[in-house]
């Protein structure tokens, strides 16, 4: 049920890909709502539709039908420019392969976003939140995978987003490094109050969330709320 503090909401979200004669239904009539500051983990096997779901909520893909409401505005009716504006001002993304710009240092990668955002924090502050102040002058080629991912998180939160979407942020990392990244995400969620959605294959991670969604065949098949959240350091895989 949508509540007063709901920040993002999906109604009857359906996505169909057409590939020649075959039709793939990636999402089937998905309803979802998240409150401001909520930390949600999205689980599900490959091809279950969770990335498509996240991409549509984040405004880099469009639904075939249904609507996505952000702060009461239907972004599925947005044009190209309004969607870009939406991403620029409200959405932070973190991806499995970091997607840092190799020719910019850690600090400059963060500044890339703060230069265009409406109400950003200082890049140094964002790096501080993810614990990488000491590595600010390093280029991606000089950073470990975990460090690169933390720079990506700093870049995502530096604009003070309302929504933080992470697609397999620990997918390319070992367990110990993954924990560091999760800690950065939890810290980011705490300090910025951004509603955070994390896609993962890794069921263990659900223990750090407020709520867990499980996707299968393009639908949310299960939804669980954690009474108590564990700290990332308390989980391992």
């Amino acid at each position: 049920m949508p509540q007063a503090k709901t920040v993002i909401e999906a109604r009857g979200l359906t996505k169909t890909y057409r590939n020649g004669p075959t039709e793939v239904r990636a999402l089937r009539d998905v309803d979802f709502a998240a409150a401001r500051g909520e930390f949600v983990v999205v689980l599900g096997p490959s091809g279950s539709g969770k990335s498509t779901f996240l991409n549509i909520l984040g405004g880099i893909d469009r639904a075939t039908s249904g609507s996505v409401l952000f702060d009461g505005q239907d972004i599925s009716t947005f044009g190209e420019q309004a969607l870009t504006r939406y991403r620029r001002d409200h959405v932070g993304f973190v991806f499995q392969f970091y997607n840092l710009v190799p020719s910019l240092t850690a600090l400059e990668n963060v500044a890339l976003v703060t230069e265009i955002a409406a109400n950003p924090m200082r890049p140094e502050e964002a790096l501080d939140i993810v614990g990488l102040s000491a590595r600010r002058a390093h280029f991606p080629a000089q950073l470990s995978g975990g460090e690169q991912q933390r720079v990506a998180i700093a870049r995502a939160i530096a604009k003070r987003p309302d929504l933080l979407f992470c697609d397999e942020p620990t997918g390319a990392l070992d367990s110990a490094t993954g924990v560091l990244v999760l800690e950065a995400l939890v810290e980011a969620n705490r300090t910025t109050g951004a509603t955070t959605l994390i896609i993962t294959h890794n069921a263990t991670i659900q223990q750090i969330a407020d709520r867990t969604l499980r996707f299968a065949d393009g639908r949310i098949v299960d939804e669980m709320t954690n009474a108590t959240r564990k700290r990332p350091a308390e989980v391992s895989w």
């Binding site: 870009t84 991403r87 280029f139 080629a141 697609d167």
Partner: protein, 786 residues
């Protein structure tokens, strides 16, 4: 037929990368085309000339006399090395053409004997009957210009008498391939033609029975021309011989020679530029392709393909592009060559054009082009050979930008996207440099071709605006006493008349010598002036000579030096004169003296050859009517007609030339810009898509690539100007001959125009790239590792 899988891959790669491949192929094609055009045209022109000369027995030596007995011919024939002599009567006369106001002249030449020299090629009709006094053959261009056909009548004033000639034929002669009227700068078939008459008719008209006025000689191959000239001059001197000249000084031959030299220069400059740029493009594109296909290369090696087989596959890909370029270049080259052939046919009077398809030229062009493409691929192929399979299949380490201008960029306040651009350019120095050089070449080609406009304007301004300011130059049939000028002053419309004297002479300085006509002019001449290199009028010295820069250089003379002057007319005196100054001059080699000083030096007193005239614009018609009928009038050069003919002829040639050069430069610019941007986009596609996800607009993302491109294009401009300037200077040196010297006038507008054309081409390519940036697939790039 089974196509091997790697060949199939090469063909598919070609189809996938068609736009980049096409851009490279076009640059290669331009190289092939210019090679074929240049070499082909050069061969065609020289082969045609050689065949024409040999089949029509073109003479090697030319000599004018006033009047010499035919008995002299045997003595001349006896000179060692002379294998043919034709004693002719050659006279300038005035045609009367109904409805034509402006003055015209025809050169009357006695029809060569059956086994004679400079034989005629009849285009129509027959040669005149020797026994019939009023039959004549006329040169083709003159006949065409006046619609003269067989059987038509042509009125010619010979030696003061009007004679009606019946045209029996239309002909061409190897002596007048480039038919320039006396005192003219460009052929004008309306105002100058050649008329061949049987010797008896000319003997009678000019009272030259048993005599001749002109000699042409053919020499045995490999003979010392100067030695024969010396022997000939000794024989002809008593008969007013003005000194023999070789082919090098024969007008028609010299102009053809100049054209051949220009073509030779073009072949040396243009094709290498295109082949170099194409090699750089191949290098860029193939390096990127191989980087992208690293894993496939590792896989192929793991599957058991030898490194050579894999390198061969990429070489095949490059050679396929080269093949497309070569075929397109063959077609374009053949087409351009045909166009040039037409131009030659219009400009030069040849009875035929030897325009055979020389397979060697095509073979050479194909070979050189394939080699250039292969050379561009070499470094990338070496990388393929060296890559161990296990390393190849692992993803490459992220590009390390640590060293790339970090310190400098830190100091400069830049947006982060600006830093990305700067570091990316810095990270690939070779590619950035070759792209800059490639664009610079496009600019250079334009600079090196466009400067000629300003240069021609300058030449006309200096020659006719500042130096030769007369409306008409009237040249007498023979030298006259100074008072003849007074008669001219009384002609209708003449507002001012300044006499001049021309005496042929050989100037000797040490081992160097040049044959020129020394011009004498009054010290206070105001119409025709001699200009110093700073364009100020030069006062005429009391005794010394003023030489044009070209002549001074040719004889290695400076102001204050002394030069030996052998007059070739009148008393044929030899004097030693000081060089009093150096003047500008773009046409021919010139030497000037004060009028009476010249008379004294030549030992002939106060004779004049003609006068420079200022006319009342309202009375030119009356002047021409009177002047053409005056018995002393040899010919008239009308400045306006000369200039307009000069401009029209050049305009025609230059329009064609500029079209070709602009096309070629555009091909380079588009090729470089398109390939550079596509590669930059391919390398940074992932980053750019990330920027879009982060909330950058399409325009902001496109700006990253376009800024990179803009920097390359801008850096290329000054370099292009510099290279173009250098090529221009080299062209001036290559084109300068005794006939003309091209002033090097490189104005800012040349640089600006060249840059604007290249920028336009760059912008068009950028628009094509912009579409690709807009279509970046945001989700795909985020899902995959590079």
């Amino acid at each position: 037929m089974v196509i091997p899988p790697l060949r199939r891959k090469a063909l598919r790669d070609l189809r996938r990368l068609w736009a980049q491949a096409l851009a490279i192929a076009l640059v290669l094609a331009a190289g092939v085309a210019t090679l074929i055009l240049g070499n082909g045209a050069h061969r065609a022109l020289s082969d045609t000339r050689d065949r024409y000369y040999s089949e029509y027995r073109f003479a090697d030596l030319f000599s004018d006399v006033v009047r010499a007995p035919l008995s002299l011919v045997d003595e001349i024939r006896a000179i060692d090395g002379v294998i043919g002599v034709e004693a002719r009567i050659v006279k300038l006369a005035r045609p009367e053409i109904p409805g034509m106001v402006e003055p015209a002249s025809v050169l009357l030449v006695s029809v060569p004997a059956e086994d004679g020299l400079n034989r005629l090629h009849l285009r129509a009709g027959r040669l005149p009957e020797p026994a019939v006094a009023d039959e004549a053959v006329v040169s083709q261009d003159f006949a065409l210009a006046h619609g003269l056909q067989q059987g038509a009548r042509l009125m010619v004033v010979m030696n003061g008498k009007r004679r009606a000639l019946t045209i029996t034929g239309i002909a061409l002669s190897p002596e007048f391939i480039y038919a320039l009227g006396p005192g003219e700068m460009m052929p004008d078939p309306r105002r100058f033609g050649v008329v061949w008459l049987p010797r008896p008719a000319l003997e009678q008209a000019y009272d030259l029975k048993g005599a001749f006025s002109n000699l042409v000689l053919r020499l045995a191959p490999g003979l010392s021309e100067p030695r024969v000239i010396a022997a000939l001059d000794r024989i002809t001197a008593p008969f007013g011989g003005g000194g023999a000249t070789g082919r090098a000084d024969q007008t028609s031959h010299a102009f053809l020679d100049a054209e051949l030299r220009q073509l030779g220069a073009m072949v040396k400059v243009l094709p290498p530029i295109f082949l170099l740029v194409a090699a750089m493009l191949v290098h860029m594109t193939l390096s990127r392709l191989i980087t992208l296909e690293r894993e496939q290369i590792g896989l192929l090696k793991a599957l058991g393909y030898t490194p050579l087989q894999i390198a061969g596959h990429y070489l095949e890909f490059v050679l396929l592009i080269a093949a497309v370029g070569i075929v397109a270049g063959f077609a374009a080259g053949a087409w351009l060559r045909a166009g040039l052939a037409q131009l030659y046919a219009r400009f030069f009077s040849f009875p035929f054009l030897v325009f055979g398809t020389d397979l060697r030229v095509y073979g050479l062009a194909a070979l050189v082009t394939a080699l250039a493409a292969t050379a561009g691929a070499l470094q990338s192929l070496r990388a393929v050979l060296a890559l161990p399979p296990a390393v190849a299949m692992a993803p490459p380490a992220p590009a390390d930008y640590r060293q790339d201008g970090r310190g400098i960029l830190r100091a400069v306040a830049l947006r982060q996207t600006g830093r990305m651009v700067a570091r990316h350019l810095w990270h690939w120095p070779l590619r950035t440099a070759s792209s800059v050089l490639g664009m610079a070449m496009a600019v250079a080609i334009l600079v090196a071709s466009l400067w000629s406009f300003g240069s021609i304007d300058y030449m006309i301004h200096v020659t006719f605006g500042l130096a030769e300011r007369q409306d008409v130059k009237m040249v007498f049939t023979a030298p006259e006493p100074g008072r003849a000028v007074a008669d001219i002053r009384h002609m209708p419309g003449v507002m001012a008349a300044e006499p001049f004297r021309m005496i042929p002479a050989r100037l000797v300085h040490g081992t160097r010598s040049k044959r020129v006509a020394i011009e004498g002019r009054p010290a206070d001449a105001r119409l025709s002036r001699v200009l110093a290199p700073d364009l100020r009028p030069m006062p005429m010295p009391d005794t010394g000579l003023i030489l044009t820069e070209a002549l001074a250089e040719a004889l290695a003379l400076r102001t204050g030096d002394r030069v030996e002057v052998h007059f070739l007319d009148g008393k044929r005196s030899v004097v030693d004169l000081p060089v009093s100054g150096i003047s500008v001059g773009f046409m021919g080699l010139g030497a000037t003296m004060e009028l009476s000083a010249l008379g004294r030096a030549a030992g002939e007193g106060a004779l004049v050859s003609g006068a420079n005239l200022l006319l009342d614009p309202n009375a030119t018609g009356a002047f021409f009517a009177t002047a053409t009928l005056a018995p002393k009038t040899g010919f008239l050069n009308v400045t306006d007609l000369t200039v307009s003919r000069f401009r029209a002829t050049l305009a025609e040639n230059i329009t064609l030339m500029i079209t070709v050069y602009v096309t070629l430069a555009t091909i380079i610019a588009v090729g470089v810009v398109y390939n550079f941007s596509r590669i930059a986009l391919s390398e940074q596609g992932r980053e750019l898509a990330s920027l879009r996800v982060l909330g950058f607009t399409r325009a902001e993302v496109a700006a990253v690539i376009l800024l990179e491109l803009a920097i390359v294009v801008l850096l290329a401009q000054p370099l292009g100007w510099l290279i173009g300037h250098g090529i221009g200077l080299a062209m001036v040196a290559a084109f300068s001959s005794d006939l003309y010297r091209v002033p090097f006038v490189m104005g800012r507008e040349v640089y600006a125009t060249a840059s604007l054309i290249v920028l336009a081409a760059a912008i068009l390519s950028a628009i094509a790239i912009r579409g690709r940036i807009n279509r970046l697939d945001l989700i795909a790039v985020l899902k995959t590792r590079e």
